[in-house]
């Protein structure tokens, strides 16, 4: 007997989600839906709970209320269809291991207990490294990689998971322009293959050129939907308050009038 699916047509469905830390709300009553096959950005000011939202969806941070489903099922039974790229700064890059080894870690969930990664797994990891253009660095110590290279290795580790929904936490933070472009290209290719990509993003300037779906967050949901409907000065002002003055007026002109990358 199978339980009926809850909102099976949505890649991600978050309802009434509330997360608190020391009885202070970090996320309050979040309703957030992402249809399959889009590239979605989560933006908001510092402390808006962007990373926390991703982490609570993945069950890494306990929530006090609400529920989350991916394609109609809770995360627990959908793990194999989810890929995750944590913030680069969340790990110690002086750990004694190689780039290839880190990518292979993406397969540990599928391998299960007691099994060791073998030649097949290493080949898959190598292919993922090639996708991010890092095949020449496979045997390099991760401490010797640049920030952008480390981020690519993390992305490759998620690619090797062969997921349907990808969560990325600030993948473009502190990387050079070349890496940023490479990452965006890979994410677009994933979307074009019908995957769903959900990215915590910090750079408002590039939101419209990179993404097609947008959630503006500041503890509560400020707005969500297609980028062109949601990315308005009014919505951003509600999320960022006074900080919005820092933004260029040109950023709000219609997409076809500004130069696209």
């Amino acid at each position: 007997m199978t339980t009926p699916l809850h909102e099976p047509d949505l890649a991600l469905h978050v309802e009434d989600l509330t997360v608190s830390y020391h009885s202070k709300p970090v996320l309050w009553d979040i309703d957030f839906d992402v249809p399959p096959g889009v590239m979605a950005a989560i933006v908001g000011p510092n402390g808006a709970g962007k990373s926390t939202l991703i982490k609570s969806v993945l069950g890494l941070v306990p929530s006090v209320a609400g529920h989350v489903t991916l394609f109609g099922r809770p995360y627990r039974s959908r793990r194999r269809r989810v890929g995750y790229v944590p913030q680069r700064s969340s790990v110690d890059w002086d750990f004694p291991t190689t780039a290839l080894d880190v990518v292979t870690m993406g397969l540990y969930g599928r391998l299960g207990w007691l099994k060791r990664p073998g030649r097949g797994e290493r080949r898959e990891a190598m292919q993922a490294l090639e996708m991010v253009g890092m095949q020449d660095f496979a045997d390099r110590q991760i401490s010797q990689l640049s920030g952008g290279q480390q981020q690519r290795v993390f992305l490759a580790r998620a690619l090797v998971q062969q997921a349907d929904v990808y969560f990325l936490d600030e993948p473009m933070a502190g990387v050079d322009a070349t890496t940023e472009r490479a990452i965006v290209d890979i994410l677009r290719r994933l979307r074009d293959d019908g995957k769903t990509v959900i990215v915590v993003h910090h750079d408002l300037q590039t939101v419209r050129s990179y993404f097609d779906w947008l959630l503006i967050l500041n503890i509560r949901v400020i707005a969500q939907g297609h980028v062109e409907d949601v990315y308005t000065a009014e919505n951003l002002r509600r999320a960022y308050g006074g900080q919005i003055a820092l933004l260029d007026e040109a950023a709000f002109m219609p997409a076809d009038k500004t130069a696209e990358t």
């Binding site: 020391h22 982490k55 890494l60 989810v82 004694p96 190689t98 880190v102 540990y108 060791r116």
Partner: protein, 381 residues
Amino acid sequence: MSPLELLHDYTIRNVAIGAALLGLISGVLGSFAVLRKQSLLGDTMSHAALPGVCIGFIIAGAREMGIILLGALTTGALAALVMLLLTRNSRLKTDAGLGITLSTSFALGVVLLTHIQNMNNAAQGGLDAFLFGQAAATLRSDLWIMGGITLVALVLVSALWKEFKLVSFDPEFAASLGMPVMWLEVILTVMIALAVVVGLQMVGVVLMAAMIIAPAVAARQWSRRLEGMVMLAAVIGVSGGVFGAVLSALSRGLATGPLIILSVSSVVMVSLLLAPGRGFVWEGVRLWRGRRRLRYQQVLTTLYRLAMHHADPVFRSEQGMLDTYHGHRTRTALRQLQKRGLVEWRSAPPDEPGGAKHWVLTTTGHEEAKRILDSLGREEF
């Protein structure tokens, strides 16, 4: 006593085997502790083992090793648990939590120790040896216990190898894959408590932390992968342990535990200094080389700029001019450049007054200077 006779001596053989087992288990588990930044957890647990030793003694009424070690394991693990709860559920930071747990449980241990000593129980003799260890008191039966614990730890580590690796490197990602991160961390912590228990009798509660940390830190300097680090840490632990044990046997009367710690620590010193890529010496040489390269590149580009400025590719620069421009002697740098064929030391044409020798860029020197300036421009962009 010759080294061969040493190995036939019953006590010394026991001590050496015990030290080897201790080095093995603490090298392997210490690697994970150090990588998870929990070096001091071992220290807390070993100090917290002291009240357990005393309670075990009180319950058994004699120096019953099994019960004493069980007590040590219980209070050691309990202290780790208290530490974990303290930092999770209060705003206490980890270092403060470790400090409080360590000193409180050690104080409790010392109080219990003096209480037992005042009971005038003849069997209590040597209980205070747990403070600094008393290797010579190691019995064959103790070795069986230590060996059993070490075996369990090694089997667990090899069975859960990839899980332990991922939890040590990226616990969040491990959790997203569905690994029971908390349980894996508990197992690792309990196993470190086991290593502490193994070492209590050899090196004592005070020095045990060094045994956990030192082999792992030394091995980290030389290894590129976790596999290599763990194995090397085990080797360093075992050889340091045996070396210390033999040293103390040869020197009659010097304490074994501290000698073991000292021999392992000397490996740490050497590793911190000399390890390729990570050691101080290596780091220093790299810095010196970089400075020297920078200096001769500067001199080379100066020659190039002078040539450009005078629109004369074979412009002849005088030594004094270059020295003045750079504010220091450039002769060494120029000799370097000359050796690489980038500049030439040419005498002035006979018709020119002064007639001193001059430095002139060669064709390859021109190309090299151009390349350096171009790459500089790219980096700025």
